[in-house]
Symmetry: C3
Subunit: 203 residues, 3 copies
């Protein structure tokens, strides 16, 4: 792996880490995990074989990315976010359920976090959901169903509270239009979602 | 300890670990902790002296099992579950409260998780509760009081939402009876709890 | 550093740790972090440059104290409390937001926890709040605004549920006065806060 920084205390067992990525203290990346280019993987993280982290992602400390979890480009995972990959978890060693865990097909449920989304500290992401592009999941929220792009979701279970800009700030809409007070980007409501209006298309 | 796998980065200071158990990277098991047979203790776990883990338990990554916490056989502890052992915690080093922490009797409150129960990712288990046999605590739930066997509890504070089979799936009851759609086990309501009906006793 | 215990697996890169402090396994303290005297820093903690921990603090396992977080004397931080220092987090590596992260002034928001306060297991403390002296934040609470001294706050978002004594026990008020049933300290309501009445001023 070219130009990858691995802290001396980290354990990196995969060979699939992109250029420019840094992996910090006491992190553990297993064989078969994919980590893209220019990522930052914080202390005490655990990335399992089969998990995929896109380029330019920031994975803060203490995260566990299980098999079945995919993060697209530029995702922000706050400290100690909770991913899961089984909706009815039991100890595989319990005699009553050993059959269920004989093959992954019967329990493994994937999770997808789309480009540029942010997951706040301590958020819980239930297996099976898709978190939309550039979404903002508030700290401590419990996400139990899919979240549309640019949505701000809050609480347990997480509910839509509004929309956010690509820069992360809340957007206020008037007559279906919004201009971000912070970065000036333009958005329009379209059905139940919002869409960015590129500069060249305005007016 | 016979046939125990300890990752080279783990620190295991107890001698009381059962055969077939595996303890993973950066985990720390203190003197006086008990870990049963055929357990799996994930990365970055911490098991304190006086904590007890039964056989066949799965303790996912990042868990902290304090003195006073007892897990019976076959318990599933999801990632980063929060156990506590003090209902009125203060820094023991604060002058105002040093007397209170002079002996454990004045602050240490035990927690019991019964056979085969599952604790979802990021659940909070307050000191002093008993989580019943084969219970399912949802991810992110805050358990503030005892939970009966086979219950599904959800939310903060955790409330009963229904019943689950030993295989983990929700059960639907009609006229006090239920057959699991997934594994075929039979259950009957009895007062405020449910009981499994063994095959030999049916009809 | 005189009389500081550092576990052989811990990484301590600051030189600013007070006498009598103990730092446990797999903890990582960065250059520029301040840790006071007689503190206990649990396993798997992470203390970033710019974070400040006062004397006599108890920081339980798995905590991450980011730049901008200040704990005064005698604070108790339960297991895996979630601090944050950015209200609109994005991956700094995402092209759309690189400008925002060019300087700390545009994103870094400080947090202050005052003397003797307790933060329960898994509590979430949003960037920008001040947690008052000897406050008790319940396990799993999500603190989104300032908390007055001696308050007990619970839930998500955290709401005031009553008052606590310096010893941590709930206080019951009658006609604006309260005597702690546990330690005998006296308190009086004053406007929207409470104040301890010193023995010499009674009657």
């Amino acid at each position: 792996m070219k130009n990858v920084f691995v802290h001396p205390t980290a354990q990196v067992e995969t060979v699939d880490v992109g250029e420019g990525t840094r992996i910090w203290a006491f992190a553990h990346v297993l064989p078969g995990a994919h980590v893209g280019k220019d990522c930052n993987i914080g202390d005490h993280c655990f990335i399992e074989g089969g998990a995929r982290v896109g380029d330019n992602a920031t994975v803060k400390n203490g995260n566990m990315l299980w098999e079945g979890v995919t993060l697209e480009e530029g995702v922000f995972v706050g400290p100690h976010v909770f991913f899961t990959n089984d909706l009815y978890p039991r100890s595989q060693r319990l005699p009553e359920v050993r059959n269920r865990y004989a093959s992954k097909e019967s329990w493994l449920v994937p999770t997808l976090v789309r480009r540029g989304a942010s997951l706040g500290a301590g958020a819980v992401i239930l297996a099976g959901v898709t978190v939309g592009e550039l979404t903002m999941v508030a700290a401590g929220a419990v996400v139990t169903k899919d979240v549309p792009p640019h949505a701000l979701v809050v609480g347990a279970p997480a509910r839509a509270r509004g929309w956010v800009c690509e820069c992360g700030r809340p957007l206020r809409f008037r007559h279906g239009d919004s201009t971000c007070q912070s970065c000036g980007a333009h958005f329009r409501e379209e059905g139940k979602e919002i869409r960015k209006i590129e500069a060249s298309r305005q007016g």
